[in-house]
């Protein structure tokens, strides 16, 4: 068992390293985009003087490695200077540093900084939105995972029957439509005509849980339709793959019922690939749902990411990108650990 703990520790260390490289990549990519924050923020109304004033106030005129260092917290974050030559910067604004006593206040110190555009702490901006994104992802997963496992097992059981074909065809159809189209169809049927569910999932911090489930039902259903096919077909394929193995034949010859053969004998050995696909889809539910958010007016992380990239709001872009990267790292790790645990040969070894 201990080698699993060692594996987790190792993988977590590598995960942190991955996040570090991701942050450099994202920072560099944001820098490569044409225009900087000052220009994008002012948009059509930018004048050279106001652009220069914003750059001075936020320290955007500093070289990029210094800005990265400040953000990371390995350089003191007080280096921006206003027109009168007085030092300003977020550590000073936050009251941590003074002009004579520099302080480090970057990510390494646990401070993601302030949004460049509305000067609010990134942590505060992320708080409710991260909660909303996780809520929607879990809600969709709570419907999609059991549903696709069940459908996959049944499809494997009744393979090549009419049932199998119908399930496959409808799953493939729903994954082939673009998400917004699925969303519009659901709105048309379930919100427009019947008026059963609201078309806008405007969740506010005060909304209670039952209300949230009701409001977010259509977005969750849309996402379910989008992710079910992948997981369902992987379950079906992984099980059918095993059905030709000698030990399954043995079980059959012993006279077991087909459902018992599949659930007791085939499924445990098919778990590893299924878990991996589920993890991949969960990561997608957290990181890739901006279109669904927009259609249903759902305040999640996707819209925040898109807006921040458009405005070149580096601290927010970095924070959201790191959350997304962390979601992938952690879900992959979880999938690998679970896959290992599902295989007694790997658990017993070492």
């Amino acid at each position: 068992m201990s080698h699993i703990l060692i594996m987790i520790a190792k993988r977590l260390a590598f995960g942190v390293l991955t996040l570090f490289f991701v942050s450099i990549l994202i920072f560099g990519a944001t820098e490569l985009l044409p225009g900087d924050f000052a220009e994008e923020f002012l948009g059509q109304s930018a004048t050279p003087e106001t652009v220069a004033a914003i750059r001075r106030q936020l320290g955007l005129n500093l070289p990029m490695h210094i800005r990265y260092g400040e953000w990371l917290g390995i350089l003191p974050g007080w280096t921006s200077m206003n027109a009168e030559g007085v030092l300003t910067g977020r550590c000073i604004e936050a009251g941590i540093a003074t002009a004579d006593a520099p302080a480090y206040c970057g990510v390494l110190q646990g401070d993601f900084g302030n949004s460049l555009s509305n000067r609010r702490p990134v942590a505060e901006l992320l708080g409710t939105r991260l909660g909303n994104t996780l809520f929607l992802a879990l809600y969709a997963a709570a419907i999609a995972v059991p549903l696709s496992l069940m459908l996959g097992i049944l499809a494997a059981l009744f393979r090549n029957s009419v049932f199998d074909r119908v399930v496959n065809a409808s799953a493939l159809t729903s994954i082939s439509f673009p998400e917004f189209f699925v969303a519009y169809i659901l709105i048309f049927w379930l919100a427009g005509m019947g008026g059963l569910f609201p078309s806008m999932a405007t969740i506010r911090p005060a909304t209670d849980f039952a209300e949230k489930l009701y409001l977010a039902f259509l977005p969750a259903l849309t996402l379910t339709l989008v992710v079910t096919a992948h997981m369902m077909r992987m379950t079906r394929a992984a099980i059918i793959n095993l059905l030709a193995s000698p030990y399954i034949e043995m079980a059959r010859l012993k006279g077991m019922s087909p459902i018992r053969v599949i659930v007791r004998h085939a499924l445990p050995n098919a778990l590893a690939p299924i878990i991996n696909v589920i993890a991949l889809n969960l990561a997608y539910l957290i990181t890739g749902v901006v279109v669904v958010e927009v259609v249903f007016v759902y305040p999640g992380l996707g819209q925040l990411m898109v807006d921040s990239v458009a405005a070149r709001d580096m601290p927010v872009v970095q924070a959201v990108a790191l959350i997304f990267a962390a979601a992938y790292v952690l879900l992959n790790l979880t999938a690998d650990v679970l896959a290992t645990l599902s295989n007694p040969r790997l658990v017993k070894r070492g």
């Binding site: 004048t47 050279p48 106001t50 004033a53 509305n118 409710t128 519009y184 008026g195 806008m200």
Partner: protein, 522 residues
């Protein structure tokens, strides 16, 4: 006054077009405009507004208000020194009145007593000065910096604010109605740009940028017979279909933007009224007048005659607009030139001007993005078709939305633009056509025009001013560097349980962004 608002509810698109081209600024009332006299406004209810804009990167800083969410918020939570009334005239707001010296350089605004901030304190002259100062000075990052840069001195004396300008400006009180300059409380002589306070009709209760806001009626609001709702909820709904769905299903009472491709479908929905207003919002195609071949006015004229304006309004705006005449003054404005010949699509004149320019065949690129204005790419393609028939090879280069305003507009010689418009002729011309202005998008420099601009600004005699502005419109239309083919209507929609006043303002969307103050529930 010629500034009768031009608005219509549910008029057929042909009707709007004809009305616009035939009688310019006169009011064209549709069947709904001729509705029976309305009952007295009723208090109560929560007005739920869906707006097409609003980003998580928006800021409370009034100097950064640049989209319909933040501009609407500025008017719902704030008051300004002056206000543009529904009929387009200027009326006092936080200022009770004002006086100018004969040269229009010194102004005295008297602050109204009894105007209170949501936090309780009454508005003073110091608050007004601090609110304006936020947009001045080298360190200011405000988008309103250019329009207040002429102020040389401000001083408070009791309830009076004395303002001295570098040069005379007869329209200065108009500038004080600008959406960037709400009156905010001064703390030690400066405003806190991130404050949620204000002295407007509703106070912020909840605000999440890019998501929405909830505001409740400010009990101490001074304006009588106004602000009828108990609360206002503003939600950012970017997706056109989602917005229209929310209106039809009754989750929202009013939406500020209707997709012009589907407006006829929305119109058919029961209980929905379309509000279409022609204001000063116009779409333009600026050419860099310093760069060949656009440096030759004949080339510019050739292009101006190569665009089919009627068809542009018909297809790009689905009829919801008016044709433009290559100058930025709207048909509803005070000094709109009614004598100017309307430019039309005329291939013969195109060929004539090309011959005059000594060019055999003209081949140019125009750089547009989807986000330049709604339908910009379509407008470009349509332009290139009609230009081709007149012998001009016009290629539409599709640019990315991202970074359009910093990398394409005013950087490449032939691009697209849009302006929400400005309430006065001087303001509009100064912003985009005066030499050296940061937004002089065609880099146009015309001696006579620039002279007239300065003279007209300080002129208090209305007839003389009219003459000057008429000439300036002619100069911009005949010699300027921007093709302005159309004025786009502000098209919104609301449920018919919401009552709008008989006259709806045309200076901005959302009844001049005063919907929360001027509308009520039936």
């Amino acid at each position: 006054m010629t500034n009768t608002p031009f608005f219509s509810g549910g008029v057929s698109r042909r009707g709007i077009l004809k009305g616009a081209s035939a009688i310019g600024g006169a009011a064209v009332l549709g069947p709904l405009g001729a509705r029976m006299a309305r009952a007295q406004p009723r208090r109560g209810g929560t007005l739920r507004i869906g707006v097409a804009h609003g980003s998580t990167t928006d800021s409370l800083d009034p100097g950064s208000s640049e989209n319909d969410f933040t501009i609407l918020m500025a008017h719902v939570r704030g008051n300004f020194l002056t206000e543009i009334a529904p009929d387009g005239s200027l009326v006092p707001e936080v200022a009770e009145g004002w006086e100018a010296s004969a040269d229009a350089r010194s102004w005295v605004f008297t602050i109204r007593s009894g105007v209170s901030f949501h936090s309780g304190r009454e508005v003073t002259a110091e608050d007004v000065i601090a609110s304006i100062n936020h947009h001045r000075g080298e360190e200011s990052t405000s988008a309103a910096k250019p329009i207040v840069s002429d102020i040389t001195e401000m001083r408070a004396d009791g309830m009076n604010v004395h303002i001295t300008l570098a040069a005379g400006n007869a329209d200065f009180p108009f500038i004080m109605s600008d959406y960037h300059i709400p009156i905010l409380p001064a703390i030690n002589g400066a405003i806190d740009p991130q404050t949620t306070d204000g002295c407007g009709p509703y106070a912020i209760e909840e605000l999440e940028m890019g998501v929405g806001a909830r505001l409740v009626r400010h009990d101490g609001y001074w304006k009588p017979n106004s602000a009828f709702f108990d609360a206002v909820e503003i939600t950012a709904i970017h997706d056109d279909a989602a917005r229209q769905n929310a209106l039809i299903s009754g989750q929202i009472d009013y939406i500020d933007t209707v997709d012009l491709n589907t407006v006829h479908l929305l119109q058919r929905a029961p209980g929905i009224e379309i509000l279409s207003v022609t204001g000063t919002q116009h779409y333009g195609l600026p050419m860099d007048t310093r760069a060949a071949p656009f440096s030759d006015n004949n080339v510019r004229l050739a292009l101006k005659y190569a665009i089919d304006r009627e068809q542009m309004v018909e297809t790009v705006l689905n009829g919801y607009g008016a044709i433009g005449n290559d100058h930025p003054i709207g048909p509803g404005q005070r000094f709109f030139n009614t004598e100017l010949e309307q430019k039309t699509y005329d291939p013969d004149r195109v060929r004539f001007h090309l011959r005059e320019a000594g060019i055999e065949s003209l081949s140019v690129d125009i750089h547009l993005a989807e986000s330049t204005f709604a339908g910009a790419i379509d407008a470009g393609v349509l332009f290139s078709e009609t230009a081709a028939a007149a012998g001009i090879d016009l290629t539409v280069v599709r640019e990315p939305n991202d970074g359009y305003w910093s990398n394409v507009w005013m950087q490449l010689p032939f691009t697209g633009t849009y302006w929400g418009g400005r309430p006065t002729e001087d303001w509009m011309f100064t912003t985009t056509y005066s030499e050296g202005a940061p937004w002089n998008e065609s880099y146009w420099s015309h001696e006579r025009f620039n002279q007239l601009l300065v003279d007209a600004r300080a002129e208090l005699d209305q007839d003389l001013r009219r003459e000057m502005y008429f000439e300036m419109q002619r100069l911009v239309s005949d010699e300027g560097g921007t093709i302005i083919p159309m004025f786009a209507n502000y098209v919104g929609a609301h449920g018919n349980h919401l009552v709008r006043p008989d006259t709806v303002a045309t200076n901005w969307r959302n009844d001049g962004h005063r919907i929360a103050e001027r509308w009520w529930f039936a």
